[in-house]
Structures are given as C-alpha cells and as structure tokens.
Amino acid sequence: MRNKRGSLAIALAAALVVLAGAPVFSDGIYAAAAAASAQDDWKKEFEDICSKTQDSMSFTPDELKSLVGRCDALKPRIEKLEETQRKVYLKRLQMCRDLLAFVLESKTGK
C-alpha cells in the first residue's frame, strides 16, 4: 500500500513537471526538433521526386505533370536554405525538373 502511494506521488510529480515545463521546451528543444523535421521534409520530398528520373520514360503524362508540379512547389522551400545548400539543391532540383518536363514534352508532343 505504501509502495502504491509512493508510485502515485512520483507519477503525479513527473506529470506536473512535464506539464509545467512544456511552454519552456516549446521555444527551445521543440522548436529545434520542428526545424530539423522541416529540414528533413524538403530533403525527403526532393529525394522522392528526383529518384524517379531514371524511369521517367515509364510514367504517364499526368504522372509527369504531377512530378513537375511537385518540383515547382518544392523550389521556394529550397530557396530558404543557407547559401551553399541552396546553390547545390536548386541546381539539382532544376536538372531533375528539366528532365521530367523534357520527357513530358516528348510524350505529349507539346
């Protein structure tokens, strides 16, 4: 019984600490984690789109249009990166987009 009460008290104390600490963390660790997640997001999206260039010939015009659209949507996010990363990934994204648009053009004849 004593043990149970003790455990309950510890659990309550821990919950209070977490609840009270949340606003403090949100400006620090949580913000950093969110930034890291956003950082990963653009790269995941970039890799997902550009991994498809090798078999771009097998996509339908609609699929290619969608991929080109995703490239265009991703560009402003890459433009916000620091100078070197921006320079490298904007060029890589451009090459990837150009190829997809090229294949789309070859399929639609436009």
Partner: protein, 273 residues
C-alpha cells in the same frame, strides 16, 4: 634594282614564315593536360594560385553523373562558382575532400579547404591551388594510366573500353549525397545520318553514354530536341562546344577522331569503317 627586288623577296618570305608560326593555331594539349580545368573565380583574390582540376584522375574513379548531377558541378569551367566555404561545408570538392572519406586504394581523401590553417597546410592547399607552382602530383598520369587501353587522340586513353573491360570501376553512388534509384532501362542505339555524302552515319549508343552520364546530364541541357531529327547538328557547332562538343573535345575523346562516331557503313561502299 635586282638587288633590292631580291631583298624584298627575302623579307616577304621571312615575314610569311614568321607570321605563319604566330597564327591562331590551337595548341593540342599534352596527355595529362587534356580535360584540365583551371578555377580562378576567387583563388588569386584570396592570395592563392588558381586551382587545377584534372579530369583524368577523377574520371578513372567516378562517373560524370556523380559529380555533375549529384554533387552539382556545372558543365562549364567557373560556372559552379565554388567558394572555399562551400568546400568547408562539405559540398562540391568538400563532398569527398574532407579528410575523412575513404576510397579503396586511396586511403583518406585529403581535406580541400579548412577554416584554420597550420604551417603544414600550405602544401595541402597547393595540391589544388597549383597553377604555375612546381607541385609534385601524388598521381602521375603515365604511371596511373599505364595499364589502361589506349587510343589515338584526347589523352590517349580509351575510357569507354577501360570501363567496359573492368580496368576502371566507377563509383556512381555516394551515401548521403546520391539518391537511391532503380537501374536505368537501356535505351536503344540510334543512327544519325551525316550531312555530307559519303560520310558514314553515326551510331549513337545510349548504353555507352548512360553508364557515365545517366539521363539528366545530357537532357535537356545539352540535347534539347525531343524528337529525332528536330535538332540539326552541325560539326561547326560541335567544334564550338555545343551538343556532343560539350564533352567531346574537352574531356571525352575529341571530335577529330571521326571514326569513333561515324561508324555505319555507307550504302554501296565495300569498305566497312
């Protein structure tokens, strides 16, 4: 009168010979200079000699695609606008040249640029910033390429054969830099008719080119035409560095080696090319 005419003739002949020697004839680079790129956007301004990049050493280890697509080097010298800080951040040369990367047979790859310089670092800087400096290279061209298959032009190496026979094994993927992709489906070879009568047609091999370049290195930046026959290639433009000339004549075998491309036998001709 005769004497002065004779003297005039001698002067005319001598000046003709002298002028012929100082014409605009382009010097053919030596084997180890072929494909050399000199980068000097910022080097001299920062007190360093211009950086010298040797394609022969790098193309023996990596595909063109890895550097020009995944790492992001432009296809024109100086157009990448590389700064020392880019290398320090682990991009461009610093992708591999970071003092940590290991390649088989090479050990750790030396660091390209670093924020702090020690007294010994001067030598390290000179490994790239070497134009006009008497720097002993780590790899010597003749020794390095001694066992590679040979050809007549360029730097005397048949790189395509070197890759096909396994004399070189090209790295096409760098962890953390390259994107995992499915293997590229092999495209069919195609023929391009020559404009001049009697010149054999070109057999263009997508397979040979994609081993080194993938797709996006050539399309659409270099070859924009989507349908066969829409782009009218001319040898003048190619010699000026357009189309095939973006690589052939600079790094890949030069376009004066006609028979490497114009391979299809002309109808009616008995001699295969």
């Amino acid at each position: 009168m005769k004497k002065s005419f004779f003297l005039f003739l001698i002067i005319l002949v001598c000046s003709g010979v002298a002028l012929a020697q100082t014409g605009t004839k382009k010097k053919r680079p030596l084997d180890f200079e072929y494909g050399r790129v000199v980068l000097n956007n910022y080097s001299e301004k920062a007190g360093f000699a211009p950086a010298v990049f040797n394609h022969w050493l790098h193309r023996a280890k990596f595909t063109c695609r890895l550097c020009h697509v995944d790492i992001g080097f432009a296809m024109r010298a100086g157009a990448t606008d590389i700064k020392a800080t880019d290398n320090m951040s682990g991009y461009y040369c610093g992708t591999c040249h970071n003092g940590k990367t290991l390649f088989s047979g090479s050990g750790k790859v030396f660091e390209a640029c670093s924020k702090k310089l020690s007294a010994e670092d001067g030598r390290r800087c000179e490994r790239c910033h070497s134009l006009g400096r008497n720097v002993k290279p780590e790899y010597e061209f003749a020794h390095f390429t001694a066992k590679f298959p040979k050809e007549r032009f360029g730097n005397g190496i048949n790189w395509e054969q070197a890759e096909a026979t396994g004399a070189i094994k090209l790295v096409d993927f760098l962890e953390g830099v390259s994107i995992k992709r499915p293997a590229l489906a092999i495209q069919k070879d195609m023929s391009i008719d020559a404009k001049m009568e009697g010149i054999p047609a070109i057999i263009f091999s997508h397979k040979k080119h994609t081993v080194w370049n993938g797709c996006e290195l050539c399309h659409p930046e270099i070859f924009i035409g989507v349908k066969k026959g829409t782009t009218k290639y001319s040898m003048v433009e190619i010699f000026e560095g357009k189309y095939c000339g973006a690589c052939h004549g600079k790094v890949a075998f030069p376009t004066i080696d006609c028979q490497r491309c114009h391979t299809r036998q002309v109808v009616g001709s008995e001699k295969p090319m």
